[in-house]
């Protein structure tokens, strides 16, 4: 039912945790809704337009946890422009998600985009 990669990320999730939300170098994206059974919080720490660290917390099924865990791995070291180009289908493919779980990868892509948007807004305001 689950691919090995999903199980791996679920049992040993990478980068679980939080950064200080108010930090101006941090962008936070919260997507999903409890009623839908998934909420992802993804945070990026940015230095000179490059993502130097990332953290997540996810309420959701194993595939949602794996998608967000993978997303944190992938964004690290990328520029924010590069990170914005990560697509849900790349995540779904990497994790071998079945069709009913594609929405988990969509959520992970949305979370990356929301975190980048938050980071940019924060920078503009300072």
């Amino acid at each position: 039912m689950y691919s090995d990669k999903v199980i791996d990320h679920y049992t040993a999730p990478r980068n679980v945790g939080s950064f200080e939300k108010e930090d101006k170098d941090v962008g936070t994206g919260v997507v999903g809704a409890p009623e839908c059974g998934d909420v992802m919080k993804l945070q990026l720490k940015v230095e000179n337009d490059r993502i130097i660290d990332a953290k997540f917390k996810t309420f959701g099924c194993g595939s949602a946890i794996a998608s967000s865990s993978l997303a944190t791995e992938w964004v690290k070291g990328k520029t924010i422009e590069e990170a914005a180009e990560i697509t849900n289908s790349e995540i779904a493919e990497e994790l071998n998600l079945p069709p009913v779980k594609i929405h988990c990868s969509v959520l992970a892509e949305d979370a990356i985009k929301a975190a980048i948007k938050d980071y940019k807004q924060r920078k503009q305001n300072t």
Binding site: G32, E35, G37, D38, K57, F59, C61, G62, V100
Partner: protein
């Protein structure tokens, strides 16, 4: 196998070895057709079927002649509902059931709507209980059938079947009960509860899969049903098809052992279930019971672990088999309609786990389950953004969540 802990007995049970043993001669030794009247093979099969019919009848307090064999509770429910609707169509076209019934009741009732029948789906309160005043008020001069389950399969709530039967009889309406989860677990007497039609299934009571029965009352009143399967006229013309002799022997034996052991077994299951519930509530905060605190089946415990999604929890439980009302376990992405009917918000329905205990559940397994569930819930809450918010005192229901799908 012994590494696995099976707490999904409401989905299906293993066959009891004693039941299995009773069945074995009927595959390669006594393989006769119970309808063969003219030779020893047929007599032997028929004799065993007659005995099984008696065993099933005594479990629910009816006569052996009132038992119709089917392929399971799904078919029993279909035959009861579609068969009664067709037979009594002249009398009326209204059927009453409720929102928390199994799909094997809801779907035939919905099918009848397309055939011009009117239906009422009773609501339930937050404990899963119907309101008897509402039931009585829903009856019209067109009502021909009330179908209400004895025990709910997801939350284990016991409907007040004695009162339902009394109301149905008072208004001259037939009463069908889906007793799939109740039969063999709690005492049921079709005369005491004035039940006219009752469905049960082998594989929920340590018998084999693919065999079930429908009780059809023969006197006061004599209930007649139009068949939904046509053929050789077996089972008083209500269900054609060569009898599944080994299955029937298994169902009979299963009923026999359930009846023998019911009072002791239910005490044992209640204490195991209470231990499980108390243990989990002691170790974890934000644990909520789904269903009725008192009126519930001994073996079913349905809990919501807030801020942890049910499927991810089941994934972490690894070798412990349970089930969840979370949407992620279904293709529809909708959480359990039963929990929703209780008014449980989708955010809590997604967090629900049904533990269903059975005859082979041990004390040690319950202890292991408490331990494992606790550690997985704790681990998942550590990575749950909602748990953080709850601890910070943020009311999650008041947040405007962007995404809706």
């Amino acid at each position: 196998m012994s590494d696995y802990i099976y707490l999904d007995n409401a989905a299906t049970t293993p066959v009891d070895p004693r039941v299995f043993e009773a069945m074995t001669p009927f595959f390669i030794q006594h393989y006769g057709n119970a309808a063969s009247r003219n030779h020893w093979f047929g007599w032997k099969a028929d004799e065993a079927v007659t005995n099984a019919r008696e065993q099933i009848a005594s479990l629910v307090g009816c006569s052996a002649k009132e038992i119709i064999f089917t392929s399971g509770a799904t078919e029993s429910n279909n035959l009861a509902i579609l068969g009664a609707a067709q037979m009594y169509r002249e009398k009326g076209n209204h059927i009453i059931t409720c929102l928390t019934e199994h799909k094997a009741v809801l779907d035939p009732v919905h099918h009848l709507e397309t055939q011009g029948f009117k239906t009422t789906f009773l609501k339930v309160d937050k404990n899963g209980m119907i309101d008897l005043t509402e039931l009585e008020a829903a009856i019209t001069d067109q009502t021909i059938l009330i179908s209400l389950m004895a025990v709910n399969n997801e939350i284990g709530v016991l409907h007040p079947i004695d009162e339902i039967g009394r109301i149905a009889r008072k208004h001259g309406v037939l009463f069908h009960t889906d007793a799939t989860q109740a039969a063999g677990k709690i005492p049921i007497d079709v005369d005491k509860a004035q039940i006219d039609l009752l469905s049960l299934s082998g594989h929920k009571i340590y018998g084999p899969k693919g065999i079930g029965a429908l009780y059809v009352r023969r006197r006061n009143p004599r209930v007649r049903l139009s068949p939904i399967v046509f053929g050789g006229g077996h089972e008083r013309g209500m269900r054609s098809g060569t009898l599944n002799v080994p299955g029937i022997i298994g169902l009979g034996a299963a009923c026999y052992y359930c009846m023998q052991e019911m009072s002791q077994e239910s005490q044992r299951l209640i204490s195991l279930r209470e231990k499980l519930e108390a243990g989990l509530k002691e170790n974890l905060d934000y644990v909520f019971l789904n269903g009725h605190p008192q009126k519930r089946l001994p073996g079913i415990l349905n809990l919501s672990f807030s801020y942890v999604e049910g499927e991810s929890l089941m994934m972490g439980m690894e070798n412990i088999a349970v089930s969840s009302g979370s949407a992620c376990t279904s293709a529809s992405l909708e959480p359990s309609y039963v929990l929703r009917a209780l008014g449980i918000g989708p955010e809590l329905a997604h967090c629900s786990i049904r533990f269903s205990l059975g005859r082979f559940t041990t004390d040690e397994e319950i202890e292991k389950t408490i331990e494992k569930t606790t550690s997985v819930v704790q681990r998942l809450r550590e990575m749950s953004p909602l748990y953080d918010m709850a601890k910070e005192g943020i009311d999650i229901s008041k947040i405007q969540w962007a995404e809706t799908h």
